[in-house]
Amino acid sequence: MLLEINPLVLPDIGLVFWNTVAFLLLLVVLGKFAWKPILKAINDREQGIEDALAKADKMKAELATMQSENEALLAKAREERATLIKEAKETADKMVAEAKEKAKAQYDSIVADAQVAINQQKNAALTDVKNQVGALVIEVAEKVLHKELSNKAAQETYINELAEGVKLN
């Protein structure tokens, strides 16, 4: 009697049968209408997230490349600007220097011309003065000599001699 099996561990054929039916039903129905779409949806979502992350990484890398390119471009632009400024300054300096030189040359020439003109005018004036002085002297001398010299011709000769003898400069 002790070896008789407890009914708890004796499977009933009824439950075995119905359980087989129930399990197969669940396996087929859930497999087709629940597990398949759910697992597919989960996989799709995970794939989507993975793709999105990969895309984000790619974009980040692209952005970094673009940034470095931008910086290079900016540096180049800065360099160019510096060169341009330098060149412009040089040109300006050169122009100023040239203008200065030209002005100086003009000034020099003007001064030279002026001197020449002054000299000429001075000479002319001097000559004029000389002539007037000569005439005056002659007049004076004439008047003086008129009294002293009766001979007019002799008098003029004498005055010319005198006039030649006068050194104006």
Binding site: N6, P7, L15, V16, F17, N19, F23, L25, V29
Partner: protein, 381 residues
Amino acid sequence: MTFRSIKSLLVKTFSVFSLLLATQAFAGENHTPAPAGAGVEATATTEAHGAKKEGDFNVTETILEHIKDDHSWHLWGHTSIHLPVILKTSKGFEVFSSEKLVDEHHEPAIYKGNFDYKLIEGKTKIVDANGNVDVEASKQLWDFSITKNVASLFVSVFILLVVLLSAAAAYKKTGVKSAPKGLQSFMEPIILFVRDEVAIPNIGAKKAGKYMPFLLTIFFLILINNFLGLIPFFPGGANVSGNIAFTMTLAVFVFIVVNVSANKSYWEHIFWMPGMHWSMKLFLAPIELIGVFTKPISLMIRLFANITAGHILVLSLICLIFIFKTVFASAIAVPFAVFIGMIELLVAFLQAFIFTMLAAMYIGMATEEHHHDAHGEAAHH
């Protein structure tokens, strides 16, 4: 004297854990007098049964009655659902209500169909005119009745179908891009858990997808039945996952799936272990062959024993009240029963997980690609 009898009863009650394989005869010895009207079930039954059971409260019987299958499903008080009895005999199928197998005192009665049927210790048997079991005719009797366990199983199937199909519909409706909502967000972590913690680590990411529907179905079926078993009243109250027939069926399915999907190298490792001396190979073959069967058997017994033990434990604690014959015992019994109930919640999940986990592991072992690495294999077997 009373104290002694209480003590001996306590010992006997707790020895119920080890009674899983004990004999019916031994169980029958656990008779102890108890006051009238005692016992959860007993309150209902003694009143209904009238004179016969009055004054008797048998702890072992009460507990086993709760754990065993039944032809009627108790709802409340004196109300219970009488489930249909479906019998296949040498004269064909026969269907009738289980109400006809009991008399007005809830005692087994003879029903005259194609044969005379009577419930003997909960099982339908064919009896002769004198009420004695007709052993020869009973051997021809196949009982496909919708018992309490079968009905509870159907309830769990219905719940699973409703819950999971509506979750699946939510994926179709909201699409892949949006976050899961409601029921869907409750199911998804469990499904992901089975996929990422059970299937992929044991079977490998490449082959896991093929076995996912099988593993998920097993997991959810065990889980829902474990939970339903913890509910003490309708629609719970049945002990489906603590029934050996239920665990056996699932174990057989695992056995079939494992051996059908097993590859050549799996069989080679069983019958002719590579990298061994021929004498060792001869020695190992029968051991490995036994292993093929012990794996599903261990699955069957583990789930059955764990769930049954949990039910017995909770019932024993509640029965303490009736053993001590005082309502004050509930001060200890109820908190303990609640505590064990909490642990049972954990066990319900854990056992579903372990069953699925081991099933996945066996499938993984059967489908593993061996690379003639004899040392690596030793660890697996």
